[in-house]
Symmetry: C2
């Protein structure tokens, strides 16, 4: 019995930490911690193979707290296994503490940010897939709340993990019946969850989530399953404190000092201080992978070759794949449009067809990169908006993630607005420390892809559907925060700042204006974030007028980026309701073609 | 037999239209139209109760083409029922045609935009719920592709419709086995779909999707089910044209002229021109609802009252609910945080708890508004990013949708960045014809909520977690595109443009600067989109310097909006990695508090 008693003790110790630290912080979610206490104690002190001193090593079992508001419990567990000083727990939610209100990877043992519900299972799926790729015989445990089971993203992951048959993935449902505003959809109906999950080819085990013996049995059986496994643990929200158990309206409320005192008096006597040596601790031997950061691609194009930037992106991926065995590429059923197909064909073992499920794709990518893989993922720019929240959270996960959105802008033409990415620059610019790159030709597309490969944070590449002429020589160099001055003279009267598809419109406008005796500077602003402020400011000083032109909505795009550094551009962008039609007519309608540029320059010159 | 033969004829006529129009357009997805031809013929000429001349009336059955790339087939059906001139089909995908590459509601019979996969079922769910709310005994049919079954959003809807028991909702799966880049996850394994869907409390019927008799039997049984019903129709992609049937690599490719000729020779002889009178056409009697647009709210606050804008929003909802019986409010399990709870308590029959499933919530709202409801929906601002793609598509649906994001900004404090909406202004500004409002106190929050109620497109309200003092009198008036000059003098040396929470920081900064002998103008820019350009430009001319201050990332927010009209603001915004802590410390760290404003003004004045 001593193991069970020991784990019961640990659960109550975790409860005490959770109650005390949230009361000290004056906010937090103690009742959700209480319902998970036995689950987390069983995992951290019996089931998970862990090296408490080296939780960043890759041959640990992994734990993802999908129900991120249970953070205090996770911090308590990390302290109790000796990975974190216990006194650190006191700093919960303070300004200078790594112990934030919801987990972020500022501590060993926490690899990703959670707290936007429904994302943890996709991340765990990516981790489990990564362990298999690395032939590391370790498991991934994901703790979910029952409220988040309504999120479609969870079902994307259940579906895909079932398809992949990821036997090293175990999800545990803390079925405590109560969400924030009231009961969950299915309350304590464990069969309601079980039949749904089983239908997706998972092994399901139902147990009392406060019974250590039932938990160890269920998790033990889950380990032996050949399928991914889901443990449905029936729990009580607020468990262990009489006046909080199964009470509505207690979500996200810290206990008062007086309540804490009563709670302590209830919990403390249950702790018998059983002496027991946990057997799940290991000495890890696989250190985290360092990112290889000096990759290069050589190109072999001729000026004027008509090549879509998306095709060049695919070619660059294939070249990089040969240099970097840690590189993995994900796509959501559009490999033959984004041109990740070149990588898929060259490196099938490091390619993952994620089907039409962008949220799970991004989550899986975040999971993969925690295991030292360099992950590229691609879809149409517009469909990346489906995973906007996952991308937002990836930035709080400090993820190393390379994302490419193809088919950007009205230049896709006849397929119409549902397929046009017109807000992707705004979304990707808004991510903390992101870089946003936008090539106009095949050479720059390949070189910018290589810059992404060497960048350690979140990078975004925007590619275009139609073919565009090669304008750069193969030896041209590009860098993050750079730009290219394509045309200039001492008599420039305005500067046209373009990127991607509109660079070619700007060059056409240049010729027409020149024929009318008007000289303009043309800048390819291929690094939309960070901007090449120096070159742009010089151009503004020298030519007095800036026109930006972009195949994107005005809001949050290239024009506003240039405006934000004080250069007062005239912003040419997509401002009318987009629709189907030939690309050239659509660009003309929006005033973002050569004609629109010529007209604007002439207006500005009066 | 003549009905069956008649429907077979119709299917082949739809096929012919689809082939011819896509070939003429030079692009499109004929093979996906071919696989759905019998399904659509059966629906439009037998099963659906339709008034071809009044498809906008509410007592029609509804059809949602979730697989939006099948648009040519839908247009063909609308032409064949007589709702659209046949010659109009020839204009498919042309610049000036309403027959876009993917459906948009520019034709009667098309109520929403589709083409981003996995969204149609949530819209259909909203329509079906709306029919029940209106006691209109009509059904909603949603045609899905099998590729999109991987989207979690589909499972959110399956889950929620099953929970609601929406017996007037029938989904039909065109299980043609092939997605864009290759086979779908489950190919022709109809049982794989059936067992998953059944687990969610749906009735499931499996049939041959090219057999009219099997289709009519399955759809007939579906009609009699007390549960929502899913018809799994096994089909062949490219059906009806020998060289296209079940062939990979034919997705999204129009036939060449030569291929079309062969296809026509194959299809044409099958059409026997059976004479038959469809019995499903009706005379509709319930015209579309007009939006009531002169609602008003009265407030009763005292200056200095401490009230969170989210609370005031909830109060306004309750007031508006009493005036407008078409008003419906949706929330995703955070009613007690967004304060929609006031409406939920007052009008339970017009309130819908959507649980933690934001994608489905937005889709359902889009569906509801097609039936003449004025729909408000709310969540935390950060969690609306989960439905970014649905919100994007809502703008192409020309939806009348009122969205509120609460808990915006770092001012939420200790919960940390996963819960902070810091990119919502960028996302909502980027929507075509949207308005973006941001109240700073309870009076403006109620009045702006009322402006949303009276606006016919997509509107967004950004609310704040902490309480803020009331600064406006109860008779103050607000309008879309307006602003309030809160402080001004003839000796103003700079203008501080704030919105929401930072208005109060700007007012504090005003006092401190005034004590130092520096006068600044303070503007509450409560209408972030459209901007009050006139007031802002006057301020710029008169004070020479503009500082914007916002609790949002710099990209795409208030500052860039002001910069985009040429006012060269110094933009104070969230630029460092956000984290947990007390709100005042977080705002100070980001330089968006009174101290940051004072410092910046002094720097600018040198």
């Amino acid at each position: 019995m001593s193991l069970v008693e020991y784990l019961e003790d640990k659960a109550n110790i975790l409860r005490l930490h959770s109650a005390r630290t949230t009361t000290k912080a004056g906010s937090g979610h103690p009742t959700t911690c209480f319902s998970s206490a036995e689950i987390v104690a069983t995992l951290f002190f019996k089931e998970m193979k862990l090296d408490p001193q080296n939780l960043d090593y890759l041959d640990n079992d992994e734990f993802v707290l999908s129900k991120g508001h249970g953070a205090p419990l996770l911090y308590a567990a990390l302290a109790e296994i000796g990975s974190l000083p216990r006194e650190k727990l006191e700093t919960l939610r303070e300004f200078s503490s790594e112990l934030e209100g919801h987990p972020v990877p500022r501590l060993k043992g926490i690899r990703v940010g959670t707290g936007s519900l429904g994302q943890g299972l996709s991340i765990g799926l990516g981790m489990a897939y990564a362990k298999k790729l690395r032939s590391i015989d370790r498991r991934v445990y994901v703790l979910l709340g029952d409220g988040e089971m309504a999120e479609g993203s969870v079902w994307e992951s259940i579906n895909f993990a079932g398809k992949l048959g990821l036997s090293n993935l175990t999800a545990i449902l803390d079925m405590n019946r109560l969400a924030q505003s009231g009961p969950t959809m299915y309350g304590w109906d464990s069969e309601a969850y079980a039949k749904r999950i089983k239908a997706f080819n998972w092994a399901v085990y139902i147990c009392d989530g406060h019974s250590i013996s039932e938990l160890t049995k269920a998790i033990g059986e889950a380990k032996r399953s050949r399928k991914p496994s889901f443990v449905i643990a029936k729990t009580v929200k607020g468990k262990g404190v009489s006046f909080l158990e199964n009470v509505e309206g207690q979500h996200g409320k810290a206990l008062s000092r007086e309540e804490l005192e009563i709670a302590e008096k209830e919990i403390q006597p249950r702790i018998r201080n059983v002496d027991f040596q946990p057997t799940n601790f290991i000495e890890a031997t696989v250190p985290p992978k360092k990112i290889k950061s000096e990759l290069a691609v050589k190109t072999d194009y001729n000026p004027g070759d008509m090549v879509a930037t998306r095709v060049a992106y695919g070619k660059a991926l294939a070249k990089l794949g040969g240099q970097n065995e840690n590189m993995v590429v994900l796509d959501g059923d559009v490999q033959n449009s984004t041109y990740t197909i070149y990588f898929f064909e060259g490196f099938p073992n490091r390619s993952l067809q994620c089907y039409i499920a962008e949220q799970n794709m991004v989550g899986a990518a975040v999971g993969l990169q925690t295991q030292g893989f360099d992950v590229f993922l691609s879809s149409f720019a517009c469909f990346l908006t489906r995973a906007c929240d996952q991308i937002r959270m990836a930035s709080y996960s400090r993820a190393n993630l390379k994302i490419t959105g193809s088919h950007a802008g009205t230049s896709i033409g006849e397929d119409g607005p549902s397929q046009m990415g017109l807000e992707d620059l705004a979304i990707f610019r808004s991510l903390m420390d992101s870089i946003v790159l936008y090539p106009c030709d095949a050479v720059s597309s390949e070189k910018l892809t290589c810059l992404m490969a060497n960048y350690g944070g979140i990078s975004y590449l925007r590619t275009t559907r139609p073919r565009t002429p090669v304008i750069y020589g193969n030896s041209e160099e590009f860098h993050i925060g750079g730009s290219k001055v394509l045309r200039q003279s001492k008599s420039d009267e305005a500067t046209v700042v373009a990127a991607g598809f509109t660079v070619h419109e700007a060059l056409k406008a240049y010729e027409r204006l020149k024929a009318d005796g008007i000289r303009v500077r043309v800048i390819d602003c291929y690094s939309v974030k960070p901007l090449d402020e120096e070159i742009l400011k010089t151009a503004f000083e020298e030519t007095k007028r800036i026109i930006t032109v972009e195949d994107h909505y005005a809001e949050g795009g290239l024009g506003e980026a240039v405006a934000s550094v004080g250069l007062m551009p005239r912003i040419l962008a997509v401002r009318k309701m987009p629709h189907s039609g030939p690309p050239e007519e659509l660009l003309a309608e929006q005033g973002i073609d050569a004609g629109g540029i010529v007209k604007t320059v002439k207006e500005m010159l009066g």
